[in-house]
Amino acid sequence: MTTTTLIFYILSGVLLSSAVMVVTTKNTVYGVLFLILAFFNAAGLFILAHAEFLAMILIVVYVGAVAVLFLFVVMMVNMETKKSQRMDRRYLLMGIFVGGVLVLELVVVFMSWNTSPEAFELIFAPQDGLSNTHALGALLYTHYALIFQAAGLILLIAMIGAIILTLRQRENVLKQKIGDQLARQAKDSVQMVDISPTSSFRNLESLDDSATPRGRTSRVS
């Protein structure tokens, strides 16, 4: 058994067991943490297959971003953990049935799977001095340009959809408006008023109100 085979079995063993933990653990936050562990081990497997770029992207995108989203979802959705444990029995029979059908289908597919002999040469990164990242870039932006642009459009739609679904503008919130604040001049906001010693302060109420934006500056009253 060579070292790479040993590393392969260690990585895939941890990957599979943490994947099992994701679906069996009661505490969903632990489930997400096990999912992150599974991502890390999958990245290790990618490195073993000489797909360094995919490994790094797996860590940056999945571990860095998607795991955070999963944590958010867990925080938002899962408020009580005790209630769900009681429901397990009701779905057991149906779950076993559906899972069994799926396993049977997978077995049937796997038994009748034919692979072209050339495919095994194509699953590696090209070894002739070309790095994995370079090989990916050489195809993605020219040969698959249309699919690449479609990916851009999907990202755009995701962005707009997320903004439309979740953005709520709040009323009556004091905001910094840097431009307005810097453009404010003394002559717009300071007024010199002559007050005779005998007059009352009430007379000042009739002053021009436009000099005090939104009436928030202190007014004598």
């Binding site: 936050v29 992207i57 955070v68 938002m76 692979t115 370079h134 997320a162």
Partner: protein
């Protein structure tokens, strides 16, 4: 011609991984040291637990409620927008590496992609999705 599963399993493992040996040593040392420190404090540290020590510490008071409470959906929005631009950056790396071989078409292909996401960026800026209040 079909290959046996054992051949299939060993296929992606061919090629050398010697250049990762330094990283492997680094990770082994880091793992060893952290494991050693944790086990050492677990083994040698005094353990005299009581109810007060085991309860959650929250700035000196009793914990008011469960730590898992609903929070503002805007955190979620920021995270989604972060992921989208994260993916955009991820697409930039192979492009930068292979820029010399993909020619002008590849260059403008990426510019169109960036323009598409730029529209989204302008939209989100004008809409005020990046402002926190």
């Amino acid at each position: 011609m079909t290959l046996s599963s054992s051949q299939f399993m060993s296929m992606p493992l061919k090629g050398n991984l010697e250049e990762y040996f330094n990283i492997f040593i680094f990770m082994a040392v880091a793992f060893g040291i952290s494991l050693f420190l944790v086990l050492l404090s677990f083994w040698r540290g005094p353990k005299r637990p009581d109810a007060e020590k085991l309860s959650a510490y929250e700035c000196g008071f009793e914990a008011f409620s469960d730590a898992r409470l609903k929070f503002d959906v805007r955190f979620y929005l920021v995270a989604i927008l972060f992921i989208i631009f994260d993916l955009e950056i991820a697409f930039l790396f192979p492009w930068a590496v292979s820029l010399k071989s993909i020619g002008l078409f590849g260059f403008f292909s990426m510019l169109l992609f960036l323009g598409t996401l730029g529209i989204g960026f302008v939209y989100e800026w004008r809409k005020g999705a990046l402002e926190w209040e």
